[in-house]
Each structure stands twice: as C-alpha cells, then as structure tokens.
Symmetry: C2
Subunit: 510 residues, 2 copies
C-alpha cells in the first residue's frame, strides 16, 4: 500500500505491569506493528526520549515513521499529533531554489517559495562553481550555502503555515548532477572532465542533520538520482511527472533549461540525450529576456488591427514589465511571424508594420513603450534577438528530429509530447509549434509539465512508491550522445527558418 515517505501513528499503549514488563521501546514497536507491520530502526535520540514521552502522556503517544531504506521511528511525541506531518520538496536549481511545504497527512500543498541560490556568489554557472571547488574548503562552503538556502525556505514556509520547522519530517531534493553533488559535499571535479563521471548516480536517503538541514534532525532527506554528468534528478523528476515510464506507447519529454534534455521511451525502455538548446529562453541572451519572476511579461499577443502588443505581466495588474520570460519570447516570435511582421528568415518585413522601427541601424519591435516599463526605457525585441531565438528553436527541433528518427519513428508515433522546465507551464504549445520549435502534431498530445523538477520532488514525498519509480527510471534510462554529424548540422540549418524550410512538416502553420 502506497503512502507518504513519512507518516505518523497515534498509539495507545497498556502501561507496563509485573505481568507485562516489556521494555518501553519494544512496547511502542509492538503496538506500532499492529497498524504498520515491519521492523523499525530507532535512532538513539528518539529511543532516549521515549520513556519520558510515555509517562508524560499516560502511555498515549504519536510516533513518526520514515519509510526510507529501512523503517525508522524518527520522532515520538506525547498525545495525538498524527494530523501534523509535513514534508519539504526542493527544486535545487543552479540559479533559483524553489521549495514547497506539504501537508503529508492531507496530501496538500501549504505554500511555495523561491529564492536565489546563494552559491551564485561563487559562480553564475555550473562550470564556475566546479572551478571554485578546486580550492580546499570551498566545496564545504557551497554545501553549507545550499543547506542554508533550504533551511531559510523551510523556516519561512513553516512560519507562514504556522508550524514548527522541526515538524518537517522529510525533504526531497531534485536538481541537476552538479547541484546534487554540491548539496551533498561530493567533489564535482570529474563531472566536467572527460570521461565525465560523477561521484555517484544513486544517492538515496540521508539523515537530515547530517546534511545540515534544520528540520527534524532524524528526518529523511532524499536526493533524486542522476544518470551521469548531463542528466540530473531534475530531468528524472520530469519523467516521473510525465508518467511516460508507465505507458506502453512511446512518449517524448523535453526539459528546457540552459540545456534541453530529451527523453523518449515507454515502460520498457527510456533514452535520454542532452543538447545545448535553451539559453535564449532563459534570459541573458535575448536583450530583454529574463527568468519567469515578478516583472516578467509571460504572455504576448499582437493586436491584428494595430499591430501593437498586448501582454500580461507576472505579479498581476499594476506591476510594470522589466523584460520577457521564455513563454513570452515564444509567443512574440510566433505572433510576429503569424501576423506577418517578420518573414520566414526572421527578418522584419518591409515596409515596416506599426511597432517596428530602425534604431541606430538595428531593427526592432517595441513590445512596451518606456512609459509603461519599469525601467523607463522601451522594451524591445531586436532582429539579433530573433536570430538567437531561431537558433535555439532550430537546435531543439533538430535534436528532437534526430532522436526520433534514429529510433525509426516519426513524431506522429508519439502518444504524448511533454514540455518541462520552469517556463514550461506557461508556454503555449500552438505558439511553439508555430515557430517550429516543436513538431506540428495534434495539440492535444502536448502536455505542459511546468516545474516538473519541483513537482517530482513533491511526488516522492507524497508517494513512497514514486521513490522506487524514480530509482527505477534512473536504472533503466540510457544516455545517448547526440551525434553532432554533418547530417545534424545541415538539418540544423534547414530548421533555422520559420517554421521550417520544409513547409510540409508544418501543414497546420503554413
């Protein structure tokens, strides 16, 4: 029977007598076994408080059981606290750390919070942080920073929900391979050096206190496994959430971040490959690109009459835009193309339609005028931006195509096409199809997973079975190097057109 990773049991014991002088701990386990059969570990810190707990409460107590590799009694409290059982799911991203506080007894979400990964002070990207670890003591510092960030999120979520942070009995952490290593204090040195071997792929369970996590010190900390250096627990979480590993039909999932990891397969086999694909969607490459956070335009339409943009901003009405996140960029590129402001090569059509202008010799579309923008300057989308975005979408489409074709399949054979990634929840599948980033298949086959790293972490807390599943996914998945052959390059060039040089591939668009 499936259930959460940590569960509480309220027990009413018969007090000891000369006829029944079982030891305190055995008395508790005897009673617990009636409702939860099995063998139980009891850490000393819990064993040592049991005599007092029993005698404080007339031998009625609540025990917290963690179902990690072994069953452990990780807490004992007087009276009935069985309704108070909490877990913390963490998406440990390179840039952002997002946490969700879960009520495990009720199976519902109590709050969500995002914070900047403090490791960023020692390197914006993974390579910089790996380099930082060359100096003795620095790996330990990054470990403490990761734990500290999770602790801060845990504390704020607990405060907001009116619970004690020590009532959190388990944490599940999903991140890429390097983030998992840094969080566990494992040297990432060989992750970025041929032949690219991590220290470990399967991490499993840890005692929360051993990782510096300030929840129940005996609580279970689970870290999702990875598959080599390129495919992290965040991707496996995506597979878990997509459910593709359970279906008999073949599905595909693409997780778009700095890289685009593509997973294809079914319940019998899973293949994963990774390609540099997504940077233009993540901010920093496109002039006004930014992450999905308050102030980011997330949705754009172009008014067919005025050719002016209509947009919505994360944070709600009254929040002035600062830039555009990935979903807005895809919307915008699609709209510019579909409304005829740009041609298939991504160039502004002359004569310029309203909103398009030339500025200092560079052509651009004005998304939001200075008066409406937070920074008091026009938010624009330049031809150079368009070019970057087209490269990104072309790389992704090519990778998708190569992988599918190498398996002797066509996109139409796919039962489901899932898009994961932090902006994946907001992406409009029809727009992604329109620009030729993803194939022109039935829109109903598209499924937007959103932050599937975080959702997967939640799932592993709410369902013990999900942990077995994700470990099984990690064991069965095969990593395939994307063959950057001349074939790939010529296909890539063909894809650098809206939606594609071969229009027959996108019958619903052109």
């Amino acid at each position: 029977m499936d259930g959460p990773l940590v569960k509480k049991y309220f027990l009413k014991l018969a007090p000891p007598s000369m006829e029944d002088s079982a030891a305190d701990l055995e008395r508790v386990i005897r009673s617990l076994s009636e409702v939860c059969p099995g063998e139980f570990d009891v850490p000393l810190s819990v064993a040592s408080k049991i005599p007092d707990v029993l005698r404080q409460s007339g031998f009625e107590l609540t025990v917290t059981v963690s179902f990690s590799d072994t069953r452990s009694i990780i807490d004992a409290e007087p009276g009935d606290t069985s309704g108070r059982c909490f877990g913390l799911a963490i998406d440990l991203g390179t840039t952002n750390v997002v946490g969700v506080l879960l009520d495990l007894a009720e199976g519902r979400q109590l709050g969500e919070l995002s914070d900047v990964n403090p490791q960023i002070a020692h390197g914006e990207d993974i390579l910089n942080r790996i380099h930082f670890c060359l100096k003795k003591g620095n790996l330990e510092e990054l470990q403490r920073q990761a734990a500290g960030c999770i602790n801060s999120i845990a504390r704020r979520l607990s405060d907001a929900a009116g619970i004690g942070v020590h009532e959190i009995g388990c944490v599940s952490v999903s991140g890429n391979t390097t983030m998992a290593h840094l969080f566990l204090g494992l040297d990432p040195y060989n992750i970025c050096r041929a032949p690219y071997v991590p220290v470990a792929n399967h991490f499993g369970f840890f005692r929360a206190a051993d990782l510096g996590l300030d929840i129940n010190p005996e609580g279970a900390a689970y870290v999702l496994p990875n598959v080599g250096s390129y495919v992290g627990g965040d991707v496996l979480a995506g597979v878990l959430v997509s459910g593709m590993h359970e279906r008999s039909e073949v599905s595909l999932m693409v997780d778009v971040g700095t890289n685009a990891e593509i997973v294809i397969g079914n319940r019998d086999w899973l293949l994963v490959c990774a390609g540099a694909a997504g940077p233009a969607l993540e901010g920093g490459v496109v002039k006004f690109g930014m992450r999905a956070m308050p102030g980011a335009i997330e949705r754009i339409k172009i008014n067919p009459e005025t050719m002016r943009s209509e947009y919505s901003v994360i944070g709600g009405q009254g929040v002035k835009p600062r830039g555009m996140c990935g979903s807005a960029l895809i919307d915008l590129l699609a709209e510019l193309f579909l409304k005829g402001l740009i041609d298939g090569r991504g160039k502004f059509v002359e004569p310029f339609l309203p909103g398009v202008r030339e500025n200092d010799g560079l052509r651009e579309y004005v998304v939001a005028p200075a008066a409406d923008a937070e920074a008091g300057e026009d938010i624009v989308f330049t031809e150079a931006d368009i070019d970057n975005l087209v490269r990104t979408k072309a790389a992704m489409y090519t990778a998708l195509n190569v992988v599918t074709r190498e398996l002797g399949m066509s996109f139409h054979d796919l039962a489901e096409f899932s898009i994961a990634g932090t902006f994946g929840a907001y992406i409009a599948a029809d727009k992604a199809v329109a620009i030729g980033m993803v194939p022109d298949i039935e829109l109903s086959k598209y499924s937007l997973l959103g932050n599937s790293s975080l959702k997967g972490a939640c799932k592993t807390l709410l369902s013990r079975e999900a942990i077995n599943e994700v470990e099984r996914i990690a064991s069965m998945i095969t990593y395939k190097e994307l063959n950057v052959s001349t074939d790939f390059m010529s296909e890539f060039r063909a894809a650098m057109f809206l939606p594609h040089t071969d229009a027959s591939l996108f019958p619903n668009i052109v």
Copy 2:
C-alpha cells in the same frame, strides 16, 4: 556464508572511459558485487573520499564492508590493505571493563586489556549510578565515561599491536542491562523501579562516532541485547558461548557475579532466572576476598600431612598474595571440609588441626602467614567467612534445584552444566561439587566458560551469524521470577550444610 562483522575487499577496477562512464561509486559497487553480492549503503564521508582514493591508486582500492542491519562501505583505502581488518570486543562490567583486540582477517586475538570502569567514581554499584542519573547531565557524563574507557583500551591495544586505532572497524559491547543503557545514554531510571522496565531490550547497531567511540567513525558498534532489567547481554553472551541454544538436549548455565543468573533450556526453549547469590565470591564480603587480579590467590590445596595451605597467585611466582579470589575460596572451603578441618555445619573441628587458631575469640584458618603476604599480615579465612560462603553456595544450589525441579527435571537430565563468570575459568568443578554449590553429577558434564561476556562479544565480531543467534536467544528466552516461597526458604536452610543435609544428593562426596 558466515564471516566476520566487518570484512575488507581488494578491488581492481577498470578506469572510466567514454564507453564506460559509470559514476565512481557505482563502479566500486559493481566490482564489489562480483565478490560480495548485495546492496550497499555508502555514508557520505566515504563516498566523498572515493574519487581521490581511486585516482591515487590507479583504480585499485580496498573497501571495508560492515555487515550490520544493512551492508555498508565504511571505508575506502588506496591499494591492497585487505589483510588489516580489526575489531574490538568489550565486556562492559560494572567494576571492570575488559577489551580484546581481534584480527578479523585471521580470526585471532591480538591482545587483551582490563581497566577499572571510571563510572565507579559516581557509584560502586548499579543502584548508586542509577541514582546519580537523576541529576540532569549526569547520564551524559556516565555515557562519556564508558566511551572514554573503551577508547582508552582501544588506543592502548592498538599501540601494542602496532595498528592505527582507526583501523578498528567494529566494536561489540556486552554488559548488564544498566551498563548497556548507560553506555548508550538511555535513562536507567525504570530499571530499578517496579515493574522494572528497561528503555529497550534490543539495541542493535550504531555508528561508532555517534557513541563517541574513537575508532573508524563509520564503524559498526554492536551492543548485545538484554532481556528485561535483570538479564543483560553478558548473560546472553554466556548462552551463546555455551552453545546450549543449539542442542536438542537440555543444558544449564549459571553466570556467577553479584547475582547468579541461571539459564536452562535447549534449542527450542530457554528459561532464565536471577537470584542474589554470588557476592561472597566477588570480594568485599569475605575478609580477604578479592577479584581475580594480580596478587589474588586463585588456587589452594591443603597438604594432608601438615594441614598447611599450598597456593598459587595470579601474576606468577614472586608475586606476594593480597587475598583470595572466588576460585580460591571455593577450593579452600572444599579442602577444609574434605581434609576434616571443618564439619558439615562449617565449624572448625575441635581440637583444632594445624593452621586453625582462635584469634580474639574468632576462629580462623591461616592461609598465608604475614611473612609471605604482600601486606605483612596473616591472610586468614574466618568462621564468619565460611558462613557467608556457605550461604552463597546454599542460595545457588537451592536456586538451581528449584528451577530444575519446577521444570520436572533432575540434575541428571542435564546434558551440560556450564559455569560462567570472570572467575568461572579458574573454578575447579570437583571443589564446587564438594561444597555442594553445584550438583553431584558427572564431572565431565561441567564446562567452565570463563569471561563468557567477553568471549561472546568476540564471537559476535568473528561471526556475523553469532549476532543473529544472540538476538534470537534474546527473543526466545523467558524470564522467570524465582519464587521465594516457604518451600524455597526451607530448601535454602537444608542446603546450608556441607555438602547438603541430604547426603544422598552427593553420593560421590560423602
């Protein structure tokens, strides 16, 4: 296949390549699984050193595996160190702590050392120490003292054997219920209060560092289980060593210390009861009684011509005696009776034979004259001493008789009669029979176990199967209160005669 609790494996790995880019840890486990199948836990401290160990040694390394509840890799070292695998067995006595350093690869003993239990500063006996724990912080102090004493023994034994103390991969600790609780920091409060419940009976395995043990920090620390407040791991170790739990015939074991625990049974059932029986044998009750240590007379004969005593002293020739240990007291009482110096009531026969005298109105036998004794005063054995010893032997015989009879058996039905206890190795069974302490059965059925607490601890390190056995013994054994009925009292009185008022019970003596 049985083997020691901790074992080392030398592994030669293929270095990673683009074709085989398994993670470091998985590479190690893959190779280990070929010689030792199963799943393995790897604590972070070990996982994090594996990348360096592998690359320091051309991917040849030795891993140390602990076979506790789960299989754990508790160390990784470059090169081949498989011959260096050590364990420490501890008899954690109320007064003395004795340790044996074992070479687990060779299955032999490297050294033995005894030390006074430093907890003695906070109470000579168990009740005083339990009382001491009432004050906050004191339990923790006793815990630290126990660990500190074990650490000191570990260090001295390691130094003497020329090994590093961190090369010790496991510790097994055998003691009475209170000593086990104090060592683990578990509150002993209810052990001495009705209905006498310990915090726990089964302790199992701990991480050495969690108990403050300064061996391999990830090493396995095993604590033998107890059965309620009166029957500790030391007694169960005795059963283990006796092998009575494996035989189809019924055997009996008596463990003589401050109490005498009697275990009777076979492979299908085991019964244990405890009676206050042994104090006169332990020193402190008999005027010149002392523990078995250098300076103690351990063996006494009375010359039938001169009626003078001939004795041997622990520590060898040239060591002057300071007193007599339990085995000597039994010898002496038997010899005085058999040589006709005392009668069946334990009174000196008049006229006094040589060696007997009256001193200040008290009658006594001179064991060693002042000139031969360490303290320069006569070592004597008084009529009061004899009386105490007769009470002790009578209590033990009565307890043995009551238990055996209540099971509908006679002593002659016993396949084996084992005597355990620190002085048990030196006791002469024929002398114990002569004074009527133990029954008059075939002498070949007697088996002297010596310090079976320590021997049992050794066994649990050398044989993983022995740990299952002792846990099984603890689970199957039933504690039986010795019924101090009028029956018992009248039998006790009848036994207060040498060898017994009913001479027919001792046909070979009288």
